[in-house]
C-alpha cells in the first residue's frame, strides 16, 4: 500500500476539513471556555459527528459503522487537532471502539449503537500516576461470586465526568508491575462507589480523577479474557497513541499555518519579517519535522489497519515523533508571533496548551523513545 491517502481517503479529508472548520473552529473552543461550560465539549456536535458517520468510523459495517480503518480515523483526528475541537473522539471512537472490537457480542450490542449514533461518550481510565505508566496497574479487581469488586484510583481520564462508558484496567492477579494478570472492564456511568472529580486542564479541557471504592460489577463487563487484558490493552493503546499522533499533526499544522500567515504580513525594520533568513530557516526546519511526523503517523495507521507485527513499534515511533514535531511547532508559533503570541485574545496560545496535553496523553516522546529502546533490546 503506498504511503499516501488514496482517493477515498482524500475525499473523506475534503469532507471532514470544511465540516470541522465550519462547525467547530477555534472560536468554538473559546466560547465553551468563556462560558465555563461544565462538559467542556458540545453534545450537539457529538451527535452531528454521529450523523456524519465519524463516531462509527472504526465500527464494523455489520454493527452499523463505516467499517473503515485507523487511516480514516486519523483524518478526522487531524481536523479535530487543526481546529482544536474539544471532543471525546479519541477515547470513544478510537479507544473504546478498538476495545469493543475485541469484546463479546453482549458488550458490543450494549455500547456500539450509542457510539455510532453520537449519543454515547466513553472514557479510558488507564493511568494511575502523573506520568503515563500503563504497565503498572494497582487498581484491584477481586472476585465476588460471578463478578468482581473494584478498588483503587485512576487519573487523567479525559471527559470521564461526562462519560456514559468507562474502560478501566484493573489487576485480577499478580503484583502492580506484572505483565500478566490485568483485566479490562467496561463499566456503565452510574455505579455506586465511583467518585469522579473533573479537573480542568491547562487547555481548558477536562480530565477526571476517579476513585473506585469497592465497586461491584458483574462478569459481563469484562472485555476479552480475565487476566489477559494486557493484549486488549496493548491494542487499545496502540490505537489511541496513533490517534493522538494524528491529532498532534493537526495541532502542529494549525499552529504553523497561522504563523506562516503572520510572518508573511508583519513588518519590522521596514521588511516583512518572514523575509529574514533567521525565521525562514527555522520555519523550513519545522516543516521538515512536521513532514516526518506525518509520515510516521500514516505508517502507524497503515500498520494497525494491516495488522502488521510492527504496529506497536510504529505507534510508539509516531507518538514520539509527532510529540516532538508538534512541540516545536507551537513553541515557534508563539515565538514568531512576538508579544501578540502571548495574549489570550490571540488563538495561538490555545495551540500551545492543547499540544502540551496531547503530548502527555498516552505517553510523551521520552516514554515512547524508551519503549522503542526496550522493544529493540537496549
Amino acid at each position: 500500500m503506498p504511503l499516501f491517502h488514496d482517493e477515498d481517503q482524500e475525499t473523506l479529508a475534503n469532507t471532514v476539513g470544511p465540516f470541522m472548520a465550519d462547525r467547530a473552529p477555534v472560536s468554538h473552543l473559546r466560547s465553551l471556555r468563556d462560558a465555563d461550560d461544565p462538559a467542556g465539549f458540545s453534545r450537539d456536535l457529538w451527535r452531528e459527528f454521529g450523523q456524519m458517520g465519524f463516531t462509527g468510523v472504526l465500527v464494523d459495517e455489520a454493527d452499523g459503522g463505516l467499517g473503515l480503518g485507523h487511516v480514516e480515523a486519523g483524518i478526522v483526528l487531524e481536523e479535530i487537532g487543526r481546529n482544536l475541537t474539544p471532543s471525546p473522539f479519541i477515547g470513544t471512537a478510537v479507544g473504546a471502539v478498538e476495545a469493543l472490537r475485541l469484546a463479546d457480542r453482549g458488550l458490543k450490542e450494549t455500547w456500539l449503537p450509542g457510539i455510532v449514533a453520537g449519543e454515547t461518550v466513553a472514557a479510558l481510565a488507564l493511568d494511575e500516576a502523573a506520568r503515563h505508566r500503563p504497565q503498572s496497574v494497582a487498581l484491584k479487581a477481586e472476585r465476588q461470586g460471578n463478578g468482581f469488586r473494584l478498588t483503587g484510583a485512576k487519573q487523567f481520564a479525559p471527559f470521564r465526568h461526562e462519560a456514559d462508558l468507562l474502560l478501566v484496567s484493573a489487576r485480577t492477579a499478580g503484583d502492580a508491575s506484572d505483565e500478566e494478570g490485568v483485566t479490562l472492564f467496561a463499566l456503565p456511568r452510574s455505579h455506586p462507589g465511583i467518585t469522579v472529580k473533573a479537573e480542568r486542564l491547562a487547555d481548558s479541557s477536562f480530565a477526571a480523577r476517579i476513585e473506585l471504592d469497592g465497586v461491584d460489577v458483574d462478569g459481563s463487563t469484562v472485555v476479552g479474557e480475565v487476566d489477559d487484558g494486557r493484549s486488549v490493552l496493548n491494542r487499545v493503546l496502540s490505537a489511541v497513541r496513533t490517534g493522538a499522533s494524528a491529532e498532534l499533526v493537526g495541532v502542529a499544522g494549525g499552529a504553523s499555518a497561522m504563523t506562516l500567515d503572520y510572518i508573511k504580513q508583519r513588518k519590522q525594520f521596514g521588511r516583512i519579517i518572514g523575509s529574514y533568513q533567521a525565521l525562514q530557516h527555522r520555519a523550513a526546519h519545522l516543516y521538515a519535522e512536521m513532514e516526518v511526523a506525518r509520515a510516521a503517523t500514516l505508517k502507524a495507521q497503515q500498520s494497525l489497519d494491516a495488522g502488521s507485527e510492527t504496529a506497536e513499534r510504529d505507534a510508539s515511533v509516531a507518538k514520539a515523533m509527532a510529540g516532538m514535531a508538534s512541540s516545536l511547532a507551537v513553541r515557534e508559533a508563539v515565538q514568531m508571533h512576538g508579544g501578540i503570541g502571548m495574549t489570550d485574545e490571540y488563538d495561538v496560545g490555545f495551540f500551545m496548551k492543547r499540544q502540551r496535553v496531547l503530548a502527555e496523553l498516552y505517553g510523551d516522546a521520552d516514554f515512547h523513545a524508551d519503549r522503542l529502546a526496550r522493544m529493540e533490546g537496549y
Partner: protein, 394 residues
Amino acid sequence: MDDALEDFRRDTRAWLEENCPPEMRKPMRSEKDICWGGRKFTFASDAQKQWLDVMAERGWTVPDWPSEYGGGGLSPAETKVLKQEMAALGCRVPLQSFGISMLGPALLKYGTEEQKQEHLPKIARGEIRWCQGYSEPNAGSDLASLATSAEDKGDHYLVNGQKVWTSYADEADWIFCLTRTDTSQKQGGITFLLFDMESDGVSTRPIRLISGASPFCETFFEDVKVPKNQVLGEVNDGWSVAKYLLGHEREMISGMGGRAQGLTLSDYALNKLGADEQGRLDDSVLRARIAMHEVRSHAFAAMSERFIDQLKAGKIHSAQPSMMKYYGTELNKDRHELLMAAGGSDALEWESEASGGGKAARAWLRTKANSIEGGTSEIQLNIVAKRILELPEG
C-alpha cells in the same frame, strides 16, 4: 491484495534466492564493496561481477527505466516490491553510480532519442561511469555564477575552465558538465554538456579529504572539443536540466540517512558498552540519546517510503527533495556522532587492524560532507522556505 503483484513478489523472491550469490547477501563492509562499474573499475570479487551481470541482464540495475534503454520496465509498485524483497534477503545493490541516480533521469527527460540510445544502456550495464562537473572555485552554493566557458566553434564547443570537488573524476569515464555559453545572463547562459574524460585537454588532480580518502578532484579543461550533439537539453537552458538533476541527486543523498542494513546503532553500542542487570545499555544518557535518534530514524524511514511513493505517483512538490536531503543528511551526521560516542577511544584509532584502518572515524568524518555536497543544508532550507513555504525574498 493485488494478485498480480503478489505473484510478482513470489517470483522475484524465488529468482533472487536463486541468482544472488551468497557473498552479495552480506552487508557491505565499507565503500570498497560498492560496485561503481565503468571502464576503469576492478571488481572486488567474482561474485560482485556475477551479481551485476545477472541483474543487468534483467534490467534490474535500473528496474523502473524503460526496457528499451536497458531498464526493467517495472511499475512503481513492482519496483517497490523488488526493493523490499532485496532488502529482505539482504541483497546488495548490484550497481550504484551517478549515471543511475543523477544523469539517467535527466537523459530520460531531456535527452534526444539518439542520446538515450547511446548512453542509457551503458549506464544500466555499468559500462560507463559518470562524474558531475558542477562546482567551481567561485561557484559553490551560488552555482549559477559558474564561469567554465564553452565557445561556439561551428560544429563543436571549445571548453576552458576549472571545476572543483568533482567526485571520482579520476575514475570516471564521462562527465556531465555545466558550462557558460552566454555571459550576459546568469541562469540563462548555461549549457549542459556531456563529454569523454579522455578527450584531449582534460586533466584531474585528486584532493584529499579530512577522512584521508581522496575521492574527489580538481578538474581542468584546456581547449576541450565537444561535438554539438553532446548538448543535453537546449543551448542556454542547461540550468533547467541542472536543477532537475539536482533534485535526483538530493533524493539519492537523502537516502544515505536511511536505516543502514546490518549492525544497528544500538547493537554496536551494546557490543561496546555491554548491558546492565536489567539488560539495558549500560550508559543511561547515551541510551536516551540513541533512543531519541532511533525515533527520528524510524520516522525518516517512513518519510523516505512516503517520498518515493509520492514521487512515483507524481504527487510531490518539486522542492520536496530539498527537505529530504536536509533531514536525511543531518540525521546521518547525528548517527555517526553517536557511533563515535559509543565507540569511545576504540573509535579514534586511525590505522590499527582492530579498527579496520580507522573505519569508524573515517566514516564519521566522511558524513560531514553529506550536508555540503549536492547543495548545503542552508541552501536546502532556503529552497524549502521560498518554494514550499512561499516566504518572501529578503
